[in-house]
């Protein structure tokens, strides 16, 4: 079974935006930094308020790993797939999947853009594809 995120609490706007095909994050009102995972305070500067904004959706692959086996049948049937850490233009780093790209073509530093994969009624997962592949 596909594991789902907990869409409650401070992360609710993140998942709600993803369902609409948008990547949104809270930004600290004091230092301006992107806060990820979403919180309603800033763990970087201890600021106590944030404002949600839409992100550009552009980023770069910080690191990646091609997964070749998985105990969960939902994932096992899809191997090999590429799990990656992507650093957004806004500074936050997401754990995600790289899609629309052969695993052997993924590189650290590669430019990517966000896309979304619907996995349930409530959840669309932000995934990333090579920037060049964007129509």
């Amino acid at each position: 079974m596909q594991p789902l995120p907990d869409v409650r609490g401070s992360a609710r706007p993140y998942w709600a935006a993803a369902l609409k095909g948008e990547l949104q994050l809270p930004f600290c009102d004091a230092c301006g930094g992107a806060v990820f995972y979403p919180r309603d305070f800033c763990p970087s500067c201890a600021g106590r308020s944030v404002t949600w904004r839409r992100c550009s959706g552009r980023g770069k692959v910080y690191s990646y790993s091609v997964v070749h086996t998985h105990p969960n049948p939902a994932f096992k049937q899809r191997v090999p797939y590429v799990v990656a850490l992507v650093t957004l233009e806004e500074g936050a780093r997401l754990l995600t999947e790289i899609v629309d790209c052969p695993p052997e073509a993924v590189r650290v530093g590669m430019a990517v853009v966000v896309d979304f994969r619907r996995v349930s009624e409530e959840v669309a997962l932000p995934v990333f594809k090579p920037a060049a592949a964007r129509p």
Partner: protein, 377 residues
């Protein structure tokens, strides 16, 4: 916490490897009794109790019940596999403060006989689990890939760590994997989460381990040579890999710096090193962050079997988690091996002239780091 104010006076494993007919608690208890026997003490001497295992909700409380110990001081802080090195600091502080005198630190697990599952309770990593990471292997794979991209570290260099561990294990009769192993064998093993192959990953075994700590004064009257705690420190930063600020730098920088400062020593003063090798990349990152080589130089440092028997720096002399045993958490076994090396009890794998040992525990996904520096009287 003062340098040398407390000492390790007993250390033992339970049966390790494949032990289907013992529960996790029984393995923990067996190791605890073994460590007390080793020290020449009984459960009736123990008044400080520290335990951790994913099998029990209340590890130190269950161990107290199991062995008939009603301690004056107790702790089950969960620092993952680093917990046991961390407990050295907790126990030393409690002993120095007069809150207890004889502290027992123990672990037990039958992960192997339970089918290999790593029990992590009900915790759900909401921003990671939906993407199909293998926990914790993919997190370490991401660190390895970043280190390769940033510093040119190679799969061959990662494999050198596994081969060195196997060569140590060949000298350890208790080690689970003692067959021949080459760099080519590691590279030819199944890819799990690239760039980590199956043989870049630790074993899955059963087993328990325990050590006994007491004051330097009490230690003098006991059976075996005492192993003084010269320094100990703990650090953590992130819990999950997506929050690790720089995948090539771990909190070992901070725990190592503080442990060395307390001990009044530097990396060049250390004779034998025990690092939590859940994956080959751990050893490379930790050697850099603890100051045994520069940042980015870890791959070159381990190349040419320079951490193997007879080489420049003896690392993981038991065979480590890669070849000796790994029942879910390794930290306690690193301490046991350091004690044996310092007491000159390590048989064929004994490193000559050992006066100091560094033990480095790692918990989570390079999340928690606990460093202890041990010596001889």
């Amino acid at each position: 916490m003062k340098r040398g104010a407390t000492s390790i006076v007993g250390a033992a494993e339970s049966a390790i490897g494949i032990v289907p007919d013992r529960s996790a608690l029984e393995l923990m208890g067996d190791a605890a009794l073994g460590a007390l026997d080793d020290a020449g003490l009984s459960v009736k001497d123990v008044d400080g109790l520290f335990a951790q295992t994913p099998y029990l909700w209340h590890p130190s409380i269950s161990l107290g019940e199991h062995l008939g110990i009603a301690p004056r001081f107790t702790g089950s802080t969960n620092m993952g596999g680093a917990s046991f090195v961390g407990f050295i600091q907790h126990a030393a502080l409690a002993i120095e403060a007069g809150l207890c005198e004889v502290a027992l630190i123990a672990y037990g697990s039958n992960q192997r006989s339970d089918g290999g599952r790593l029990m992590t309770g009900s915790e759900h990593l909401s921003f990671e689990a939906p993407y199909g990471t293998i926990y914790p292997a993919t997190s370490y794979a991401l660190m390895a890939q970043r280190h390769m991209a940033q510093y040119g570290t190679t799969s061959e260099q990662l494999a050198e760590v596994a081969v060195a561990a196997r060569r140590w294990a060949q000298l350890n009769p208790k080690a689970m994997e003692r067959g021949p192993l080459s760099v080519e064998d590691v590279l030819a093993s199944r890819m799990i989460s690239s760039p980590l192959h199956k043989l870049d990953c630790c074993l899955v075994t059963d087993g328990g381990g325990a050590v006994v700590l007491t004051s330097a004064a009490r230690a003098r009257d006991l059976r075996k040579p005492a192993v003084p705690v010269l320094g100990a420190a703990t650090a953590h930063q992130h819990r999950q890999i997506l929050q690790m600020p720089d995948l090539t730098v771990t909190a070992a920088v901070r725990s190592g710096e503080r442990a060395f400062a307390m001990a009044g020593l530097k990396p060049a003063d250390i004779d034998v090193v025990q690092i939590y090798d859940a994956f080959t990349i751990n050893v490379i990152l930790s050697l850099e962050d603890l100051g045994f080589c520069g940042k980015g130089e870890g791959g070159l440092f381990v190349a040419g079997q320079r951490i193997a028997p007879g080489a420049a720096l003896p690392v993981n002399t038991s065979g480590g988690g890669l070849s000796y045993c790994h029942p879910g958490m390794l930290g306690i076994f690193l301490l046991i091996e350091a004690v044996r090396q310092l007491r000159r009890e390590a048989g064929e794998r004994q490193v000559q002239g050992v006066e100091t040992a560094l033990v480095h525990g790692i918990g989570g996904v390079h999340s928690a780091h606990c460093t202890a520096i041990l010596g001889r009287q």
